[in-house]
C-alpha cells in the first residue's frame, strides 16, 4: 500500500539557497533550485518531478543524478531519503539502436 500523502499539507515556503543554480541532472541540465521549486508546486515524488522537469529522463536515464535528485526532493519534504520511492527501472539498461533492438534473433 502506498503512503497516504495530503498534497495540501504544509511543507513550508520555498526558500532560495546559495547553490540553487548548480546543475544536478547533467543530461537534461536541471538545477537544484528547479527541482526544489517543483516540490513546492506539489510534486512530491521522484516520478512526478521527473515527468514535469525531466531530471533523470535524459540519455543516462538517471544513472548519475538519480540519487542526488532523490536526496534533494527528500530533504525538501523533510523526509529520509529511503522514504522516497525511486523511479521505475526499465529496459533497455543502455541506449540501443532501434534497428538492433528490433533485430531479435534466436541463437542455438
Amino acid at each position: 500500500m502506498s503512503k497516504i500523502i495530503d498534497r495540501s499539507a504544509d511543507i513550508g515556503e520555498f526558500v532560495p539557497e546559495k547553490d540553487d543554480d548548480i546543475l544536478v541532472c547533467r543530461c537534461e541540465e536541471i538545477t537544484k533550485g528547479e527541482i526544489r521549486k517543483a516540490v513546492h508546486m506539489g510534486l512530491y515524488t521522484m516520478t512526478e518531478v521527473k515527468r514535469f522537469l525531466r531530471p533523470t529522463m535524459g540519455l543516462c536515464q538517471g544513472q548519475i543524478c538519480g540519487e542526488n535528485v532523490r536526496r534533494i526532493i527528500a530533504k525538501e519534504l523533510k523526509e529520509p531519503i529511503e522514504a522516497l520511492k525511486e523511479t521505475t527501472a526499465r529496459p533497455p539498461v543502455r541506449p540501443i539502436e532501434m534497428e538492433v533492438f528490433g533485430n531479435e534473433v534466436e541463437k542455438l
Binding site: R26, C27, E29, G58, L59, C60, Q63, I64, R94, P95
Partner: protein, 107 residues
Amino acid sequence: MERITKHPIIESFDKGRKVAFTFDGKTMEGFEGEPVAAALKANGVMIHRYTEKRHEPRGIFCAIGRCTDCVMVVDGVPNTRTCVTLLKEGMDVRTQYGKGGTEYEKI
C-alpha cells in the same frame, strides 16, 4: 604527451596498431581498439560536446559508458558514447552540438 610510456607496475598497455582518425576534420593518431575518448584525451582534446540548453562544454566523466556525457558525432552518428566506442582507422569524430547537429541552429 598524455600517454604513459613507462609505468612501474604495468609492463605494457594492450594496444592495437597506430591508426589515423579525424577530430572536427583535423587528423589525429590513436591506437586501434582503444576507446575514442582515450585517443582524444591522448591528443589533448577535452571538449566532446556542447549541451543543448546552456551550450556548455562537456567531456569525459565516467569513462565506462554510463553517464553519456562524452557523446559525440562519430561517423555521422550523434550521441555516440566515445568512452566505449572503439577507435577504427579513418573514423570521423566530431564535436556534438546539442542533440547532434554540427552547429547550433541560429534562430
